[in-house]
Structure formats: structure tokens, C-alpha cells
């Protein structure tokens, strides 16, 4: 089985990468999980995964004549992690369309693919992970701008034939029962979890490790585990999915 999820928010600062790593670690207890930093313009995942010093990244895979994706895949925290690098020059020579092939290749050899998506919808490469995914996890903060942008992400996903896995309310302070109930009227899929704001999240980030490694007993970690439990990845044939990524989405250039 394999299912690809895009973890997306449409807005920066919602804790999307923290969420991607946390969901990945929680899912890795039951599945073979691969996490990809699909935000080629603003690499972030490497800082959350203790990979800040690695030499080969997804950038080296996405350039013309690039290295195979295995060279940029690292075993960390029970998952396969494919980080992006921080070099602007490398980013500029990247061909984002190649992400499709990379995803297809990774899909052949994993149960769950998590694509940490760019926090914007303003370019093809930013939207591509949402198009490639089977389902999108929308990461929200309980604020008006974050929810507006989350709604936009949802509309893009639905327009391009991707389903919504559900929403994660992140950085929650106080009781947001009312907010959740009202938001559920507009978002497809369930509220997967409400993750409380926590010093542990910043501490994990500073330590360069995922929250579930740094503070596995924290309420925030427990909330992410709940969210992962509600995702129930679908069965899908590896080959079918890989083929779909290769051919179905983007027409070959003329």
C-alpha cells in the first residue's frame, strides 16, 4: 500500500514542518514512512530532522542530470527523510517538475509519503505537492489569516482532484471548541487534532530534532499522535500509484 499526503497551510508560521515530522514519526510506528521537503524554495525540514549538515539534498536530485533520490534519502527517527538544501543557487537550477518523478520513485518503496509543502499558492512548484498528493492535511492556526489561507489550500486541492484528509489546528491557546465547530462546517474531512502551543515545540526545533523525539510525552506530541491515528492511510498498489504520479498529472512538454 502507499498513500501520498501533502501537509500544507498556505501561510507561513503555522507549524507545518513540525506537523509533518510529528505525523511522520507517529505514522512510522505502524507504517514505512518517507518524508519529503517539497518546499524547494525555503528548506526547513533539514533543521527539524538533524540534517542541517548533510551534503546531498533534494536539490541535487532535481537538477538536470541530478543524483538518484536514494543519495538524498536519510534514515532518521524511524523514517526515510528527503531534505532540501538552503543554497539559493542550487534552488535556482532546480527543475520543480522533476518532483513528480521523485515522488513516483519514492512511492514505489514506502507505505506513506508525506510532502511538506510550500507555505504559498503563488507558483506552480508551490502547488505541485498538493496536486501530486492523494490527500491533503491542512494545517491551521486558530487565526483569521491562517483559516482563510487554509480554505484557499482546500479549494486548490479539490480543484485539482486531491482529497482533504482533515485539518490540524496547531499553536492552540485556550479552548477553541467554538472555533473548531464553526470551521468544520467549511472544511472537508475531520479536525484531526487540536495541538496546544508548547515551549517543547520551540525547544525541539532548537535541538534540531522532531517534537516526538524531543518531548514524546508532551500534550502537543500526544495530539499529533491522535491526528496520525485518524489519518488511516488507504491501501493502494505501489506500482499503480507510482505510474499515476509519472503520467497522470502533468502533461509532457511538447
Amino acid at each position: 500500500m502507499v498513500e501520498a499526503f501533502a501537509v500544507a497551510s498556505g501561510k507561513g508560521g503555522t507549524g507545518k514542518t513540525t506537523s509533518t515530522m510529528a505525523l511522520g514519526m507517529a505514522l512510522a510506528e505502524r507504517y514505512d514512512v518517507t518524508v519529503v521537503d517539497a518546499d524547494t524554495g525555503m528548506a526547513n525540514l533539514l533543521f527539524h530532522a538533524g540534517l542541517a549538515d548533510v551534503e546531498t539534498t533534494l536539490h541535487d536530485v532535481l537538477v538536470e542530470g541530478g543524483v538518484p533520490v536514494e543519495a538524498a534519502t536519510y534514515d532518521r527517527f524511524g523514517m526515510s527523510v528527503v531534505p532540501c538544501g538552503t543554497s539559493l543557487a542550487a534552488f535556482e537550477s532546480v527543475e520543480p517538475d522533476r518532483l513528480r518523478d521523485v515522488v513516483a520513485e519514492l512511492a514505489a518503496d514506502t507505505d506513506v509519503l508525506l510532502l511538506d509543502s510550500p507555505a504559498t499558492l503563488n507558483s506552480k512548484s508551490a502547488v505541485l505537492p498538493i496536486v501530486l498528493a492523494d490527500r491533503v492535511v491542512v494545517v491551521l492556526n486558530p487565526t483569521v489569516p491562517a483559516i482563510s489561507d487554509g480554505l484557499k489550500v482546500q479549494e486548490y486541492a479539490l480543484s485539482y482532484g486531491s482529497d482533504i484528509a482533515g485539518t490540524v489546528f496547531n499553536r492552540v491557546r485556550g479552548d477553541i471548541t467554538g472555533v473548531k465547530a464553526k470551521a468544520e462546517r467549511y472544511f472537508e474531512g475531520p479536525t484531526l487534532a487540536s495541538v496546544p502551543e508548547s515551549d517543547a515545540i520551540q525547544a525541539a526545533r532548537s535541538a534540531g530534532v522532531p517534537l516526538l523525539d524531543h518531548a514524546p510525552e508532551s500534550p502537543a506530541a500526544a495530539a499529533f499522535r491522535t491526528a496520525a491515528g485518524r489519518l488511516s492511510p488507504n491501501d493502494g498498489d505501489h506500482e499503480d500509484v507510482a505510474e499515476r504520479f509519472r503520467t497522470a498529472v502533468i502533461p509532457d512538454p511538447p
Partner: protein, 176 residues
């Protein structure tokens, strides 16, 4: 008017700061009974009642003088105190907390009973944070109740997505 709570601690204290700080840190909903030590030798009925909402001392009442609000704090007298702290569900305190005549300003208990200006400042900061949280939450709920506005955002995003599909080569992915 305040039901019995669950006793968390009962002790004689010479300073109230640690107890008030503890209530703040654990965001306690509940109340404290504060009696000057010498009152224990008297009727035992001469004590202050202070209620807490999310760790912030919110109401004060003195059983001996039957006064409420800041004057009740003055009536409590000097340490050492017999101090009893009780936890109670926030809902049980909702009604009493609406009694304006008994309310004390945030930080007043820390300042006047414990003489701790720093703790009083912390209490006021916590209340301000809480207010920000609440106004943010109210804004979000108001936004989500505005179905027309939400609908506009969704329609505009869907139009954008369809328009860009061709430009970006996603046309084949479009939902029929």
C-alpha cells in the same frame, strides 16, 4: 454561593506569594480561605475568601466584616495565615464571578496581601494575554459566522486554481 471544592493544601504560611504564584502557574480555578493565625484562636469564622479564575485572584470576601472587593483584602489582616486552597470547576465560579461588588483588580491580592509587586505584574500580564487570546478567538468565530465572506474566499480560490491550471499544466488533474 460557592460550592465546596477539592482541598489541595492546608498549611500555616508566613508569606502568601508562593501560594498565589502556585495558583497562577497551575491556572487554578477554585478558591482560598485565608485566616490570620490569631483568628484561629477566636471564633474561627473570621476569614477571607479569595476565588481564582485561571490562576488569577478574582473575588475577595471577608466573612467577619461582610465586605467584598478590595476592602475585604484589607480586612484579612497580617500573616502568618492559615491558608487552605481548594480546586473547583470553573463553571461553579462563573456566577459568583459576575458579582461586581466582590471583584478585585488583577494583581490586587498579590500586591496587597503578599506585598509582591513582581507577582502582581505577572498576574496582570497573564490576564492581558488571556484577553488577547479571547479577542483573537472572538474574531475567528465572527469570521467563520460570516458565511458570505467565507464563500467569497472559496470561490475566488477555486477560480484562481482553474485559471492557473492551464498556465501550470495541471489541466488534466482538474476535477470535472
Amino acid at each position: 454561593m460557592i460550592p465546596d471544592g477539592e482541598l489541595l493544601r492546608s498549611r500555616v504560611v508566613s508569606a502568601l506569594s508562593p501560594a498565589l504564584e502556585d495558583a497562577l502557574d497551575r491556572e487554578l480555578d477554585g478558591y482560598a480561605l485565608v485566616s490570620p493565625r490569631n483568628a484561629l484562636l477566636d471564633s474561627g469564622n473570621d476569614r477571607g475568601v479569595i476565588t481564582f479564575e485561571s490562576g488569577v485572584a478574582t473575588l475577595a470576601y471577608h466573612t467577619g466584616t461582610d465586605r467584598g472587593g478590595p476592602p475585604a483584602l484589607a480586612d484579612i489582616g497580617s500573616p502568618p495565615y492559615q491558608f487552605e486552597l481548594y480546586a473547583l470547576a470553573a463553571e461553579a465560579l462563573e456566577l459568583p464571578h459576575r458579582t461586581e461588588t466582590l471583584r478585585i483588580p488583577p494583581g490586587a491580592a498579590a500586591e496587597r496581601l503578599a506585598g509582591d509587586a513582581e507577582l502582581a505584574a505577572r498576574v496582570r500580564a497573564a490576564v492581558a494575554d488571556d484577553g488577547d487570546e479571547r479577542s483573537e478567538r472572538d474574531a475567528v468565530e465572527a469570521f467563520l459566522e460570516n458565511e458570505a465572506a467565507v464563500s467569497d474566499i472559496r470561490d475566488a480560490a477555486r477560480t484562481d486554481a482553474l485559471e492557473r491550471a492551464e498556465e501550470w499544466g495541471f489541466s488534466e488533474a482538474l476535477e470535472e
